[in-house]
């Protein structure tokens, strides 16, 4: 529950719902009770006022003899216990002044101690069971010389019992309705809460997309415009982090590019100096080392700058670009004693979405690798297929299956079983550059071992 906003919210809603329902049930029960009591009250008050109206006191004041002159119909209600009503009148000192029948003093016993100033209803337990319970009301009668107290009682009638049984029947029914109602309401609340969370889901999706975009080196911020007030601080914080991230990446790349750039002139001097020197033992190795360093520095610079200048894609003829690259690489191939071949139908353009310069860079990286890893008199085939694929095939050592997956990551450098000294001057960044360029093209770079030995590197472009 602690790791889910929704669960926490639903739990709280459930608690609130349960409390509200409890209060409602309690209130209903109380109201039912009150209604019964009030009806009883009203009835007894009417009886009381009838008795009070029929009273006559000799002398008109306390101490005078009391007469109850009820009409015969009214008096019938007091005749016996079965008739339903009983009355009893006493003075402030507790002396009995009148009663409906001789047993009345016993029946109204619970009310005798009361001296209330206002009428009060008293529900007494029946002596012989529920059904014989007696409702009593005490009403003061104000006469000169001090109050008298009239106590009116009514045995539980069939109506009362109906009300009581209605109440006892109602409560389980109420609970039976309230239970399912509770769950339905809870489900509804959960659904609403879930729906209320949907802006969060949308936001998470947008943030994920923007995050990925920024990781890939593109600009990107989450708009605060249509974001709800409550989550806006999250978005603002997220954007701040993105900005900081971009800044530090840019700084890192700029440093790398600058360093690589600065290294170039001293390297050029070193290379020129070396070439001007006569032959000496080990010169070939040093020339090769310098060449390798040159390559690494060049690739480092290119890799660092690649993200600063994302590819601008437009339809272009892949065949033409690859052909130019292969043409340019022929001198290198000749130097290495490797034959370079181009295989494409150049009468039919292969149109793909591309950044001409970057595609040239990617292909020349692959071709350069193929030449470097080829044996003397080996053949490197470069082919362009009409589906937008470029293939570079060599007869080099190939790549062990286990190492093919890390091929396109930074600084992977040729099969490791050749020892630390790479004889081919591979600088390791070439394939990372290829992978980055292909990613920016929405394409794919892949490698597989060639039947009969060697490797096949392929670049798959998106047709225009």
């Amino acid at each position: 529950m602690r790791d889910s906003l929704l669960a926490g919210l639903i739990f709280r809603l459930a608690v609130v719902l349960a409390v509200v329902m409890g209060v409602v049930i309690w209130q209903i029960e109380r109201t039912l009770d009150r209604t019964g009591d009030m009806a009883q009250d009203e009835l007894l008050r009417r009886q009381a006022s009838e008795i009070v109206n029929s009273l006559s006191i000799e002398g008109g004041r306390r101490g005078g003899r009391l007469h109850v002159n009820l009409s015969p119909e009214s008096a019938a209600a007091y005749v016996s216990r079965d008739a339903g009503y009983v009355y009893y009148i006493q003075d402030a000192d507790g002396r009995m002044l009148a009663q409906s029948n001789p047993m009345a003093s016993v029946w109204v016993q619970p009310a005798l101690s009361l001296r209330p100033s206002v009428p009060e209803l008293l529900d007494t337990e029946g002596r012989d069971g529920e059904s014989s319970a007696l409702y009593l009301m005490v009403q003061p009668i104000m006469i000169p010389g001090g109050p008298l107290y009239l106590i009116v009682g009514q045995y539980r009638t069939i109506d009362d019992m109906l009300l009581q049984s209605a109440k006892t029947a109602l409560m389980p029914g109420l609970l039976m309705v309230m239970g399912p109602l509770f769950f339905v309401a809870l489900l509804l609340a959960a659904a609403l809460a879930r729906q209320g969370m949907s802006p969060l889901h949308n936001l998470a999706r947008v943030m994920g997309q923007v995050g990925a975009q920024v990781r890939q080196g593109h600009e990107g911020r989450v708009s605060v415009e249509n974001v709800q007030r409550e989550v806006r601080p999250v978005v603002v914080a997220f954007n701040d982090v993105l900005a900081a991230f971009e800044k530090s990446i840019a700084a890192q790349r700029a440093l790398t590019a600058d360093t690589a750039h600065q290294l170039k002139t001293p390297l050029a001097v070193l290379q020129a100096r070396l070439e001007q020197m006569g032959d000496f033992k080990g010169k070939k190795d040093i020339v090769r080392d310098v060449d390798r360093m040159n390559r690494l520095v060049r690739q480092l610079l290119h890799y660092a700058v690649l993200a600063q200048h994302p590819a601008s894609l437009q339809p272009g003829n892949l065949t033409e670009t690859v052909k130019d690259v292969v043409s340019g690489m022929v001198p290198l191939a000749l130097q290495a004693g490797v034959e370079l071949r181009f295989d494409a139908n150049d009468k039919q353009p292969v149109m793909v979405m591309m950044d001409n310069l970057q595609v040239a860079e990617a292909v020349s990286n692959l071709v350069e690798n193929a030449i470097r890893y080829s044996p003397k008199k080996g053949v490197v085939d470069v082919a362009v297929d009409k589906d937008g694929t470029v293939e570079v095939r060599d007869r080099g050592p190939g790549i062990p299956a286990g190492e093919q997956t890390m091929l396109f990551t930074r600084f992977w450098q040729g099969p490791t079983n050749q020892g630390t000294e790479s004889p081919h001057g591979g600088a390791g960044l070439g394939l990372a550059i290829v992978a980055e360029i292909m990613r920016q093209h929405g394409g794919e770079a892949a490698m597989q071992n060639r039947e009969g030995g060697g490797s096949v590197f392929s670049l798959q472009f998106v047709p225009a």
Partner: protein
């Protein structure tokens, strides 16, 4: 042939100057754009120009020269070896673009190619290895001896010589040999190349014609190239 080297890194400029002199060029060095501007008052046959100079971008000088109608061949040197930089350099009017660090041999080959391509004064002699072609009279000398060549072979040789060391596309050669006429066929060019190749080797030329399958041909001066020859 006089070449102006504009490079502020003194040791590198020194090496370039030395190499050019060793190969029969007269080279002068300017270390700033201001120096270069005043030195360009004299006639030069080619310019080698660095980009990052103490008093500005070498590219600006290139633009100035081109704007004033000067067509002198220019080779840009730069530490900015990125593809996009290369394109801006060429667009500004440079003829070639060599990224640092480079081999002095590569620099020399590029300068020679530039001079060849620029055509220079009428009657220029195209030269590679021990082969010379007088473009005014279309006569060919191999190892100092005149060699009679057919008209097609001369045209072919001229195109290959102009871009010695670089691949010349089949389409370019076919266009040069046969124009837009219909009689060009795949074999016609191959036959002409075969004949020229035979003539070159028969007369002891230090050049070989390399076939680049699927693209075209390349005239190779180096002796190491056996793989593609044949």
């Amino acid at each position: 042939m006089r070449i102006l080297v504009i490079e502020d890194e003194k040791s590198l400029a020194g090496f370039i100057e030395q190499t050019l002199r060793q190969h029969g060029f007269a080279a002068s060095v300017a270390t700033t754009l201001a120096d270069a501007r005043s030195m360009l008052g004299q006639p030069y046959d080619a310019v080698i120009c660095d980009r990052r100079l103490p008093d500005g971008d070498g590219l600006d000088l290139v633009k100035e020269l081109r704007a004033s109608g000067n067509n002198i061949p220019i080779l840009m040197l730069t530490a900015l070896g990125l593809p996009k930089e290369r394109v801006t350099g060429l667009e500004a009017g440079a003829d070639d673009y060599l990224p640092k660090p480079f081999s002095l041999f590569e620099l020399l080959a590029r300068v020679k190619a530039l001079l060849r391509r620029s055509g220079g004064p009428a009657g220029l002699t195209l030269e590679a290895g021990n082969v010379q072609l007088d473009t005014l009279h279309d006569t060919v000398q191999i190892a100092g001896k005149a060699v009679p060549l057919g008209k097609r072979e001369v045209v072919l040789l001229r195109h290959l010589l102009q871009r010695a060391g670089q691949v010349v596309g089949k389409d370019v050669l076919e266009q040069a040999l046969y124009g837009d006429t219909d009689d060009k066929s795949r074999t016609a060019l191959e036959v002409a190349v075969h004949r020229l190749r035979k003539l070159l080797s028969n007369h002891g030329a230090s050049l070989s014609i390399v076939t680049v399958r699927g693209i075209g041909y390349l005239l190779d001066e180096s002796s190491m190239s056996e793989a593609n020859a044949g």
